[in-house]
């Protein structure tokens, strides 16, 4: 067993044991923080998977929410129609073995459907470059949303209730660990060097005999798969889906995380996901304290103005992302080890 695989197994076991011992305690006593924890996990998966496309492969996708929607609706439909038949789960409740098995299967199904969608979009559109690709993926995301609005069996504008909140810390952070593992080992493998060459110089890569389209499609499909998994986690946590929840701005949120984290730096992106999920909630908390003078309270009530200003200022002052390409982290880690 290689060292990285060992790390993966260790991390998964850790997630499982935390979930096994701490799940109920956190969920019942700190429901709010629990909610934020799950949201962080979902955002990490979305952002690290998008980073494979936008950061490592140098493409630009603005339609990640579309794949998330495919996954969310796929897993919700699966649970609605097939869980009662396969696992004997009625109205979202059953024994833990059955619900966890159901969650696993519906996550796989969600990922697979999203990956198929990713393949269908990727193969034709990845001949395009940069901005064109951005706009095609944006368009694809919008089409997905309009399609859901028109499909009555998915609830259309009424929204879709999801039976069973099976999402827990294990499934969420297990997926996080797996996602990070897959992305990192793809990028750092000999095979994965291909992604970086596509980013750094596509023409040169082609001249060296690298099939750039194959790499782009691979990145796209893997990213879509994990977006679908994130969708399934979201669906089985919030238990209610509306097409509006997967609009263009959801995609923008994920892109912002990737850019702030520093494109092509997994650890930076993970950190940015944590930060950007907590930040709005922290601002929410701040709005209720007397710590902030009344004159500035209005800024907190208009969190979106603050958010947009932060975005502009950060881009102007730290265009390489908050955490750059991750060298600062490595230095810091190295130094603390040396201490």
């Amino acid at each position: 067993m290689s060292r990285s695989l060992l790390n993966l197994v260790f991390a998964l076991v850790l997630c499982a044991s935390i979930s096994f011992f701490g799940e109920n305690f956190i969920a019942s006593n700190f429901a709010y923080y629990y909610d934020i924890l799950i949201s962080i996990g979902v955002n990490i998966i979305l952002a690290t998977s998008l980073n494979l496309v936008n950061g490592y492969t140098g493409q630009f996708s603005l339609g990640h929410a579309g794949f998330m929607a495919v996954g969310a609706y796929a897993s919700a439909s699966w649970s609605n129609h097939l869980d009662p038949i396969i696992f004997g789960i009625v109205n979202g409740s059953g024994n833990p073995v059955a619900t966890n098995a159901a969650m696993f299967v519906s996550m796989l199904f969600a990922g697979a459907m999203a990956a198929i969608a990713g393949f269908a979009v990727g193969v034709p559109s990845l001949r395009l470059k940069g901005d064109y690709l951005a706009i095609v993926t944006l368009g694809f995301g919008e089409i997905i949303r309009v399609a859901i609005l028109n499909l009555d069996f998915l609830g259309a504008s009424r929204g879709l209730s999801v039976p069973g909140t099976y999402t827990n810390l294990f499934w969420t952070y297990g997926s996080v660990v797996l996602c990070i593992y897959v992305v990192l080992s793809l990028v750092h493998s000999t095979y994965g060097r291909g992604f970086l060459t596509v980013r750094d110089d596509e023409v040169a890569a082609e001249a060296m005999g690298i099939n750039t389209t194959k790499y782009k499609v691979a990145a796209f499909v893997v990213a879509a798969f994990f977006a679908g998994v994130a969708g399934a986690l979201y669906a089985h946590f919030k238990a209610f889906l509306t097409p509006e929840g997967f609009n263009f701005f959801r995609s923008v949120d994920v892109v912002v995380i990737v850019i702030l984290g520093g494109m092509g730096s997994t650890i930076g992106v993970v950190f940015a996901a944590v930060l950007l999920t907590i930040l709005p909630e922290a601002l929410r908390g701040l709005a209720h304290t007397e710590f902030v003078p009344a004159a500035y309270q209005v800024l907190l009530e208009n969190r979106l103005i603050l958010y947009s200003l932060l975005l502009i200022i950060l881009m102007l002052t730290r265009p390489q992302g908050l955490f750059g390409d991750g060298t600062a982290f490595k230095k810091w880690l190295g130094r603390s080890r040396a201490d």
């Binding site: 429901a31 709010y32 009424r158 209610f240 509306t242 922290a282 209720h288």
Partner: protein
Amino acid sequence: MAKPIWMRVCLGVLILLSLAPHDAHAEIKIGAVTCLTGALSTFGVSSIEGAKMAVEEINAGGATLGQSIQLIVEDNGSKAGETATIVRKFISQDKVAAILGDLTSSATMEGAPLAQAAKIPLLTPSATNVAITRIGDYIFRSCFVDPFTGKIMAKFALDHLKAHQAIVMTDVKQDYSVGLTEAIVHYFDQNGARVSNTFSYSSGDTDFRTQLTGVRTAHPDIVFLPGYYTEAALILLQARQLGIKCPFVGGEGWDSPTLVQVAGKAADGNYYTDHFSATDPDPRVQKFVQIYRAKYSTIPDALAALWYDGARLLALAVQRAGSTDGSKIRDALAATRDFDGVTGRISIDENRNAAKPGVILKIENGQPEMVQRVIP
């Protein structure tokens, strides 16, 4: 030595997080969640103004259980998924006694199951989807449901406007509009009249001439327009420009001064159903309008009135329960009979929905005038 920027950022976030509210005032807390920013904030802002006014009045009128009521307002930013987070915050952080909200049906559908699971009563003053109160016995509503509004619209059109051939224009992006459409078509079919066609549009559209050209060729007696005023105003305007003369009938979604401002003369001669009319001569309503106007310098719309009533109804139930215990508040809410609100007398029925009268308004010379009160 200068710390790397991300360390400073982490520190900042930690400080912010530690500031999360831990106030120890002996107050009964009610959590209110609505859309104060984002696409739906145009509806959400007046709702919370109504709710705040109700709580202030109740606190001024004497303390409940010796403690005043504190309304904790949270904004869902018109974003999916946020309401669930906020309801969890209400339950685990703020330890609220009850929850007021959300504004829309889809947001309420996210939060209600959590409140039900935690056995914290949740009352929505404005979410009209039938499915909401079916979630469980802690979920209440103080407005009517879509089928009721649809039914009174259709009944009024049949009985008073003598309309037998109708067209419905539905906003497919809004569950509210889709729900009303189903109810209208159902009532017309049951009562021997005919909905000859339905045209659809989506929120955010501004050009409806293509659909209206179709309406014009069909020569209906009446057009049902169960959408929000944002689009309804433009539809009325463009319909009159194209020479469509028949009356349009809408629901409470039309309630806003903007409708008449945008549609101008084209708004005249059309009808809509509502929870409340600011022109209602009832002294209670007039007093409410007067105070609201003095406070916020606008005339209250239906959402302000609904949330005012909802907040009062909930606060009074807490008062009657004599406890912050969820099950006692639930029982008090369920026992609400003939609550005297500005939107009419409200009784909570066995399905935890409100049985209350509605009003039908006609727009004339740019003013909505009450033509009829409908008692269920």
